[in-house]
Symmetry: C2
């Protein structure tokens, strides 16, 4: 059984899901289908900014909540991590290159690990260099491919598809027409997948 | 052990907690201390509108999520319920009268039941009449008391206290300095209460 995992690298709460991907697949005997899109574009279209600076208490809470939840899950989170990402689109376009090549999952996991554990923002040169090193990828080649018209079109298509499905945040999980939004709904989504 | 439950009548997700209050207290051997405040005022101060009409997909999701979660918990939710409330402040000021008199929990439970199961908006005349009938309260007397300077001051004080604690949404649960936001964090809050 396959569960669609829609996400943007750049979403903070998505860290909690990314770190659990392998365990979730193993424990529930499912595969996650990683579907990158631009949640930033969808939020701009909705005139929605979830954690802007003038919402200081909400931002403070977000980091603390992620930290507590990570601890509960059994891993660490060095918060606050650099935010928002300067190279948001690059990070996600490279994920789409990895989608085509088959290394998307390792790339996303490594990018988030470097971001939330080593403080290197995803999509940035340092993070990418480290990620490419671990995955034995050619960084210049990957960046060049991420700038192609093909990937740009795929990115836009993924984002339109997400919006059409009613997705407005990351992470989201799709089971048929049902949207489950947030790492804290992942178990609900799996339950729905298994019972429908 | 006591858990502070900060809320506003008018918050949609708070329905999920209100319906579980008695079961939570029994199953975890704790008491909830009901603390009404104006989440609307805090959101205005933060320039935050969580579910405005231009975020149609988010609003649609909210109702579906509440419906699914209610089913999971074992009760119903007739969604969409009337929203937003016309008499938000009246609903919460009456809760403060109930806080003083000791019937706050029954009032909140009955108000939400009438709102989410019978479609009568909380704070409105019909809902209040039904609630007062069930609780054997004099509706005119309760309304008059809710309009007193004393209750107005208490309402403002509660809201300032909530903001000072870092609360920005309803429901929120406080354990010491730790804020847990959302019905989906209630079990985390209870876990924290028992282990700290």
């Amino acid at each position: 059984m396959e569960l669609e995992f829609w996400f943007s690298i750049g979403s903070t709460y998505t860290y909690l899901t990314v770190m659990r991907m392998n365990e979730i697949e193993r424990n529930h005997n499912i595969s996650l289908r990683l579907m990158p899109f631009s949640v930033r574009q969808i939020m701009l279209d909705m005139d929605n900014a979830p954690f802007p600076p003038n919402k200081a208490s909400k931002v403070k809470y977000m980091w603390r909540d992620i930290e507590r939840r990570a601890t509960k899950y059994g891993f660490t989170a060095n918060v606050p991590a650099p935010y928002p990402l300067q190279e948001f689109d690059r990070a996600n376009k490279i994920a789409l290159v990895g989608f085509q090549d088959g290394w998307i999952k390792d790339y996303v996991l490594q990018s988030y690990t470097n971001w939330f554990q080593s403080g290197l923002e995803a999509g940035g040169d340092e993070n990418l260099a480290k990620t490419c090193n671990v995955l034995s990828l050619n960084m210049d080649d990957i960046i060049a491919r991420s700038q192609s018209q093909e990937i740009d079109k795929l990115y836009k298509d993924q984002t339109s598809a997400a919006a059409k499905k009613g997705i407005f945040g990351s992470p989201s999980f799709m089971v048929g027409d049902e949207v489950f939004w947030g790492d804290d709904r992942l178990e609900d989504a799996i339950g729905w997948l298994k019972s429908h």
